[in-house]
Amino acid sequence: MNLHVVSCNHQSSGLAIRERLAFSSAEDIQRAYQEFHERFPTSEVVFLSTCNRVEVYAANTEEDPAVVRQNLASFLSEFHHVPLEEFSEELTEHTGPEAVQHLFQVVSSLDSMVLGEPQIVAQVKEAYRKADENGSCGALTHALFQGAIRTSNRVRTETRLSNGRVSIASVAVGEFGKSIFDTFADKLVVVIGAGEMAEETLRYLADEGVQQVIVVNRSRDRAERLAEKYRGQVADWQQLDEWLGKADVIVSTTGADEPVVTMARFELARSKQNRYKPVFIIDLGAPRDFDAKIASLDDVYLYDIDSLQKTCDRNRKLRQAEVEKANRIIEEETQRFMSEFYSRAGGAIVKRLRDDWHSISQQELQKLFSKLSHLPAEDRDAIERTVARIVNKLLHPPLEALRDESKGGSPNGLLDALSRLFRLR
């Protein structure tokens, strides 16, 4: 099997290199496939480019000098105009069954920065689709990527690797927010502060259908940028109490040294209009923006960064416990893929052997029938069928041995022996 993968991922290299080697646009990818095929016309290739990895899967059914680390690395270097020596040592390489196992691990998110994250399957599928669109897939890469998708499905359904959320914002919204509210579409979200964490949380809330967003921030510029992104509105810092009273969801990420919202301030704000309306508060400030005592009020669900972090850690540990099970599935699927591959590889030899033997039997039968011209047509048919059965029975043991050998690994030795013994060229 001539399959190679060169990889530059979050474990082997820094973001600075990964950014430079990434295929960032659809045009980039299309040009990469064109240039690769101009250089290596007989090779199959799939480029997988995400924020955490840039990988090149190259394959050829025949021995091909294109599919070696040096050539793949040079291609990346020349395509992106990044000197080879700047990243050569950060590239990892896998070949043959190891390359298959690597892809299966990648697609099952075992190689991801966040174990069990679901996006990688879609990213691998997209990479495969683009390669196919660009005419870059062949028998081997089709089988390889279809096997990868099958493996990721098995890992997802047979293990709990994707259970539980592991980012603070997703835990807050997914584990707690969705247990408080049935829908977020009619909820008013008030964001206090406009930092990165606020933006990440808003992204999750937007995915849940949030439509009304108010950003309250001391710096109006940053608030406007964030509000514009999520089609929200900006309110002055002086109006904070008014919005505290109206909010269903509050996301707070100020960098204040002491609580911005004290118990008295919160109670006063809520008592004016929405005393008993449930409110979900995500306090991502460190130190906290909300007085911890507020959590003791009825219908107030307050989560600070520490409690959310603990939940993330617990979920991460639960996922870690599933890694062994996922690896077992990947090993099984790798063996299955290799066995099917070797079986297909031996197919050509098997066909030639069968064709040769049947051809010889036909030649001998013609000679026999020319001598026994008085034989009726039914007798001739009966003789032909008998001889065909004899040939098939004689072929059965070697073909069975070849199939068995394929299950254990490459049957190259046996194929070579068959070719030499029966002069199959």
Binding site: N163, G164, E175, F176, K178, S179, I180, F181, D182, T183, N274, R275, Y276, K277, P278, A295, D298, D299, Y301, Y303, S307, L308, K310, T311, R314, N315
Partner: protein, 298 residues
Amino acid sequence: MLNVSVFCIFASYLVAFGFELTRLRGQGWLARTLTLGFATAGLLAHTLYLLARASAENLPPLLSSSHDWLLVLAWLLMVLYLVLTIVDSQLAVGIISFPLIIGLVATSWLLPETSARSWDPLRSWAMLHASSLVLGTAAVLVGFVISLLFLWQNERLKQGAIAKRSLSLPSLEQLARLNLWAISTAVPLLSVGVLSGIILTNWTSENVWIDPVVLGGTIGWALICGLLTWQLSRTRTPGRKVAVATAWSSGLLLLAYVGLQVLTSAAGVSSVHGAKPVKVAPQAVTLPTKSANEEGQK
């Protein structure tokens, strides 16, 4: 011949509850199948028992006795549990419903199996009274289960605990809405039950207001009406307080309808709902099978 007793029903539900409890530690498909299997078997026995009782007493189970009325109530809750579990197998409704259903089945043992009176002349009114009360009480008990689920979910959220995958709880918003629906359904049904009861007593010319079961039941009905009025009169009501109030009102109504019947029966106090002496273990009822019918015909 098939022998079905209240014990069969009780035991099946108890075993199903035992398997249901394993969900607290994460449930596998086997335990889930066994829970559903025993619950279904129990419901089948329950149905056959009620049919046999109706046939033996020549009256619908709702009218034949308080014992049967209570078993009909438990049957309704069991059907609801099974439907919900089939729709969403992860829903944590069984943990709370099973003790309630098992409690109702066990209590039916303590109630008289025969009615103290004949309803023949007023059968339609009696049927309306009994059926609206059983449906109304079932709605109140659904509200009770929903309230406990609300308090469970509320506690989990307040503690910041992760939800178990094998035990899914609806959102607080959904539970609050369902609670309001349950109580809104219960109030008209119970009102029809109470009013038809008053009309019945006028015809029978009895002073039922000294009957502890009638008096307690009417107070329970008034409580549920008050609860609904309280919920509807405020645009925003604290969710936890509503759940606590519903749980208490439902508990009191159950105590009034069931507990007082048990007490009056045990004490031998006269009641329009039957005051026969307590029977510790009802006899198994015998269901005629096809072969038995054929033998009878011969």
